[in-house]
Subunit: 644 residues, 2 copies
């Protein structure tokens, strides 16, 4: 661990646009702002490369007058008199020469008669009953390309058909932009490679994988250096070595520790010019820009979301510039925000969102996870840019979202909000396999799901709300919360709830009565599990303020299990599958019913229809039943039809 005194504080963050100008100026200063020079590659290797110059036809195509049909090449003048009643005979191999499609016309021929329109009279003549116009069924020289004609402009990304056109007019190589070459140096004493088992305090280094793959997908090539610990001399040596490989760009990938972040700036300052240290963009603040020995260097923040967005915001335009392409523009779609998003006033805020199409609207929901959570990018459907000084957006505002997935995929997806169940993953996998439809879920608790339905912000809601008076589930809540919306309540599964405890049950917990003497981790208000706990506590006469940790709220079964696994609490209530997933023990409390609440207007959505099919599919039910803690006896059953 670093000594406190060595720490630097960050320079002031500068606005994104200013940082981009600084980068532009840095490139000019080191003579790196133009497109890269050309290299000549065989057409076989040219797919996806970018033309460095216009490509002109060297040769016409066809390069001779070619028959466009199987038939006989003739001189049209010889055919003028032919009629049904007065056929004309043409001497074979003199007046009429058999030609296949693509064959050159003989010197005197200027038309082709299709084989179907000819009667053989004998071995030496053919007979025709209609005249043919000059150049009929002939592909004239240059029909496709005329020599000197422009085939492809410069700065064009080569597609498969372009290869054919170039080959067809006399090229077998093409001048393309050299690929921008980027050296990546992962830095940080806490970093270890992906093939090792990390100790506490060690972190798997994978930003190099992500950035290298980004750069290659944008048309660059990369080399990833070995991880360099936070030692000034080693860092300097690593950067000098990297520069010696003559890259177009060096990326220093900081670890997420403060040490890594600060050394990068120091090293660049030491070797060359430190130009930017901190950019007002979220996530991503500690971006560093500099140059050394005529080479641009970018310091990339260590948090994975910051790193990937630094790639998109700073590095992608650079690669495009070097390839002679225009600044990449990402197409966006309009979407309605489902939650308020507060952005720091001075920052350009890039918000990862899930996007679903419910009814006619795209709905965007901020994922709201920190820059350390790479799964937030994996699960994001898109990215919304909230510009500096806009002070965020309100729920219901329209924003523009750059989609990370095909819009068709998003339109087919089903959005379920409400209570979380680990087996939604299983449902999603079956849905993907059999229907190519994704299930998107947001864990907001059972009550939160019903509220989302009321607002038209989800296709369905997962719910396991116990009605204390009836002992039934969900129905009275639907009646109360969906006053004006017809809906159906359809069972997903019965599932076993209980107390998740560490392996071997070290606290010796036998029932909920033990909550008075142990530490507990709770679910949030509105969660079905919370309702169940409160009901059980009341039955037992245990006041909530006697339950230690009652105020510690988590949002999913898995988060509860993780909190117990790591010793934050002795136990927490959740489904058996969550305990099994983390290899923990489980003290059963009872079985409950988990239903989907589906508004009538979404019952015909193709994805909802597919889910209903799966709930009645024996293979799926069998697989679900086989998970301990699940019972499918009423899976697919319509429990209630709400017709307000």
């Amino acid at each position: 661990m670093m000594q406190i005194d060595e720490r630097n504080t960050y320079l002031t963050d500068i606005p994104l646009s200013e940082a981009q100008q600084q980068l532009h100026k840095a490139l000019q200063d080191v003579n790196k702002s133009a497109a890269l020079p050309a290299e000549v590659v065989p057409l076989r290797d040219a797919l996806g490369r970018v033309t460095a110059a216009p490509v002109w036809a060297k040769r016409s195509a066809p390069h001779y007058h070619a028959s466009a049909m199987d038939g006989y090449a003739v001189n049209a003048a010889d055919t003028l008199e032919a009629t049904e009643t007065r056929p004309v005979q043409l001497t074979l191999n003199e007046q009429a020469v058999g030609v296949n499609t693509g064959a050159p016309l003989p010197p005197d021929a200027n038309a082709v008669i299709m084989i179907e329109h000819v009667q053989h009279t004998d071995a030496s003549t053919i007979e025709i009953t209609a005249p043919v116009a000059p150049w009929h069924h002939v592909r004239m020289m240059g029909e496709d390309m005329v020599a000197t004609e422009l085939i492809l402009p410069a700065n064009h990304t080569i597609r498969p058909v372009d290869l054919g056109a170039m080959a067809g007019c006399g090229h077998h190589t093409v001048a393309v932009r050299r690929k921008p070459f980027v050296m990546l140096i992962p830095t940080g004493s806490e970093l270890v490679t992906a093939d090792t088992a990390p100790e506490p305090g060690q972190i798997i280094e994978y930003n190099s994988l992500v950035l290298s793959a980004q750069i290659e997908s944008w048309g660059g090539k990369t080399h990833i250096a070995e991880i360099v610990p936070d030692e000034r001399e080693k860092l300097i040596a690593a950067v000098e070595w990297a520069i010696d490989q003559q890259p177009d760009l060096v990326l220093m990938l900081s670890g997420s520790s403060a040490g890594s972040k600060d050394f990068t700036a120091g090293v660049i300052g030491n070797l060359g010019d430190l130009r930017v240290h901190g950019v007002a963009v979220r996530p991503g603040h500690p971006v560093i820009i500099g140059t050394a020995q005529q080479t641009p260097i970018i310091g990339v923040p260590g948090y994975p979301v910051s790193a990937a967005l630094t790639g998109e915001i700073f590095i992608r335009p650079l690669i495009a510039q070097w390839l002679g392409q225009r600044k990449p523009t990402a197409p966006t779609v309009p979407a309605k925000m489902t939650r308020k998003q507060l952005s720091p006033t001075g920052d350009d805020d890039y918000v990862r969102v899930t996007v679903a199409k419910v009814g006619d609207n795209y709905l965007a929901t901020p994922i709201g996870k920190g820059a350390g959570v790479i799964t937030s990018l994996v699960r994001a459907d898109g990215l919304a840019h909230i510009p500096r000084f806009s002070e965020g957006v309100n729920s219901g505002d329209e924003i523009r979202v750059q989609l990370y997935r095909d819009s068709g995929e998003i339109e087919r997806a089903v959005l379920t909000m409400g209570s979380h169940d680990p087996m939604l993953d299983l449902l999603n996998q079956h849905l993907m396999d059999a229907y190519d439809i994704r299930l998107t879920s947001a864990s907001v608790g059972s009550m939160g799901g019903l509220v989302a339905l009321r607002r038209g912000e989800a296709h369905m809601a997962g719910s396991h709300l116990l009605d204390e008076t009836t002992g039934d589930y969900n129905i009275s809540y639907v009646q109360h919360h969906l006053k004006k919306q017809p809906a159906q309540v359809i069972t997903f599964a019965h599932r076993e709830q209980g107390l998740i405890v560490r392996k071997g049950n070290p606290a010796g917990i036998k029932s909920l009565d033990d909550l008075r003497r142990t530490s507990y981790v709770n679910r949030q208000r509105g969660a079905g599990t919370r309702v169940l706990l409160d009901y059980e506590l009341k039955q037992r006469g245990i006041p909530t303020d006697e339950v230690g940790g009652y105020d510690h709220e988590e949002y999913t079964h898995m988060a509860v299990a993780a909190a117990v696994a790591t010793g934050i609490a002795d136990c927490g209530m959740g489904v058996r599958s969550a305990a099994i997933a983390l290899n923990m023990d489980f003290v059963p409390v009872g079985w409950e019913r988990y239903d989907f609440v589906i508004p009538e207007q979404h019952l015909q959505h193709p994805g909802v229809l597919a889910i209903l099919e799966l709930l009645n599919n024996d293979v799926f039910k069998h697989e679900l039943m086989n998970y301990p803690g699940y019972d499918t006896k009423e899976t697919g059953t319509i429990q209630y039809v709400h017709q307000p």
Copy 2:
């Protein structure tokens, strides 16, 4: 050349859907209908590959409670009493341990106080003035991923961030689908490789390049065999050798000659089962489907457009199926047809179209070139599928178009119709370089351009229509044809018209008076050059029926030049640059003015604005002036403002 008697006639074409079913059945018969098995690759090589199984987290991330800030790890209980007026001191390295971001919390700590919120009192204690809540500024174990959680589903195409997520939860390899392996065998005695200079009758073989690149871009890998001539034994040997390489698919790429087409079917029938010979799809008819030695074989038609579309229609879904992906769906946009398109009733018709956005509408115009014209695919902005039995579409009908370009690129493009000038390529190149805007042009003659403007089907029109009575150009025509549309007439250039003749002027043509005794190639009715010719003939008292070849019409200067170059005619009228392009001689007739006619409503279109800037840009004008046969003395001048 083949002997006529050996020719086979085609089997009857079967409908596309039936051919697809036959292919499906063929795959089942040879046990090739399932997704391919998995292979394990390092994450470094996994970008763009398709997961063969769900990827579950092996390890939680973080795998320990980590500090989320630079600061001091504390036990929250020790901080409860701290207030502004009664600060609390914590002993360094006992009650408060300095931690960097990412560092593990010491065993008893459960919160982190940011360094900014701490006052050093001395070397052994820190002072705080506010309490901290448990787990504040802590990234709890599993915050990103909990062990056993689903990270990626099966059949997912791996993106850069996915690599990071997999590495972060304990993977350094991933099981992906083996790449489908396709052997391509080009066949045809007339075919030669792209690096040779073809003789008449020889054709450059490039379909293998196009199909191989298509297959690789869809996720397969390929090997291209050497070209096999149309000899049954050699073809059989080639197919047997290809099957020995254990491919998932063999493609026999026929040449475009009848011989190549028929041998393929014979060879498949000889070695195995010929299942389909001819599909009712345009372009593409002679598609062949069969199997031999447990290997599917597809015979691909020789015409390049047919070959590329066979790739998209038949081979792309196959690759997707083997990768475990769903049938690829191409997003489409609605567009208004600008011309009638007649489709053969029994065929699925795939129509290459140019697409422009004029006003609020996407307009689609069929390119209307044969299956032999690969540049029609290169220049196409999209593809419209006109289903079997629909009998084509009328001008003004809405169709759906699968775009080949980014919709933003299409929306920025300028569509000019009307007269063709070879220097529009130069304008396009400047427009692309400086503005990233494409100029799309359609050659329909000057008059055709004005008609297109009247119908709202173009942003501007190129025109050089001489008014015999005034000697001026275009203005009276605009007055007559654009009755109700305000517009401006702005000069592109003056250019030299004349008679294009073969090198050395073998026919000894000195002036238009010589047209009585030579053969001529004309432009179509409505072309400015045709108007000019008719005017000049009238001046000279030459009746048009005394001009041999007056009825042979071509649509561009280049086509006229090509017709003369290949001896179809002795001369044709056109601009000097067309003669220069094909290295021909030129007999000057005179200078004329070529203008752009631009409706007022399009004058603010960003692409039109860019063109007007270029017409007044000295660099562009200088470059244009340097081409022989162009004069820029009035380039950019507004000749007329039409205010009806």
